[in-house]
Subunit: 233 residues, 2 copies
């Protein structure tokens, strides 16, 4: 017993570095779903950007990032993968069948690899438009509008159309039960309104959002941080 | 024996759908490295875009995409993961240790999740700049230049600075031996010149590029396709 107590005392919990208004909120939610013990470190944005302190955690100075068992792990898809493999030994949020695993991996990569690119572009144009002098703003907005018409909106429409089709066929991203792929996909699903995704045209997306937002662990994650939550389901 | 022959005869090889000038070239290379039998289907771009035929393979109509054993698998990181798990049973390109696996997963997600976003932005600005009437081009380039100065170039500098540091410490992305993470990272590494990455400032990146480009399987992949290769290592 003495040994077990010593070992427990020396074992440090996972540290989760949470940046306000950011993609890191889904890791907080995943930790809550799995009831993983963690220490929460919160970071406020300065002038819209991540504070310099985060570069002491990881050279890229971004969040989400976790430190666990002497290792620093960044990149949301890789963090989800790590947490699931290490802490979800009962496979409650991990894929259970070969088919689930294929779909799970697809969406784990798709979230950041495909959906976020046009969504980040929309955000950059929005920010840039607000910072130019007012007298060139119509022209600048015309240029951004042309890129959005040619690239950003059609890409978003294609991506969210495909997501809608998927969620009309099955209740969750990897099949008929919730997995961590749903949590990884939550960030683009939270911000897709700005890309012209509306409830009338995308009913399955909105039904999924309502269902996910009502989960006790999602609500608990909201309560755990004192910082602004970027978007809410 | 009869059963084995029958089973072999009915077993269709993996089909690899390759779009010219695209990120799919790394999957071709990975298949060559692992000597996986595959059927190559080639697709030419029409007006710079993927042809409609690809939507018959996968609703998003993009490449890379593979069909294997009745399944269609898209998203480059997920394809790499699938091929490695199914066909690299000797773990020649798979991670072998826990530490390698952590690094491998990180770069598998980082390639599309982090490096490609600012690189795609550069490509979009470049394309947009060429399509506007010449008399507004200086103004348009001024706006794009401001976004590049504020966001795109600093992001690329941060990302490739971190990659340079990594490759100065170790020979490959996941450690001291090559893994599929190197192949997944090859696309941003091939196009990073356009983001201001030069040999003098990033010697480890250039040394890695030369080493990877000289691999027989990389050269074999180049020979296998009749289509333009986007970039060469």
């Amino acid at each position: 017993m003495a040994d077990i107590t010593a070992s427990q005392a020396s074992k440090k919990p996972l540290v989760f570095h949470h940046l306000e208004d950011s993609r890191s909120q889904r890791i907080l939610w995943l930790l809550e779903e799995l009831k993983v013990p963690y220490e929460l470190k919160e970071y406020k944005r300065i002038g819209g950007r991540a504070p310099k302190e985060l570069t002491a955690v990881h050279p890229l100075g971004k969040s989400p990032v976790i430190t666990d068992n002497g290792k620093t792990i960044a990149e949301s898809g890789a963090i989800v993968d790590y947490i699931i493999k290490k802490y979800d030994t009962n496979k409650t949020f991990a894929p259970q069948t070969e088919d689930e695993e294929l779909q799970y991996n697809y969406w784990l990569h798709f979230a950041e690899g495909t959906t976020m690119t046009p969504l980040v572009l929309l955000l950059i144009f929005d920010t840039a438009s607000k910072t130019v002098p007012f007298f060139v703003r119509p022209l600048v907005n015309g240029i951004f509008g042309a890129i959005n018409k040619q690239y950003t909106f059609p890409e978003c429409k294609k991506n969210f159309g495909f997501i809608e089709q998927t969620l009309q066929k099955q209740a969750f991203f990897a099949g008929d039960r919730i997995t961590a792929a749903d949590i990884q996909m939550s960030f683009p699903m939270e911000i897709c309104d700005r890309a012209g995704v509306h409830e009338q045209a995308y009913p399955a997306i909105y039904a999924w959002r309502k269902k996910m937002g009502a989960r006790p662990a999602y609500q608990a994650a909201l309560q755990k941080t004192s910082l602004a939550y970027a978007y809410k389901l």
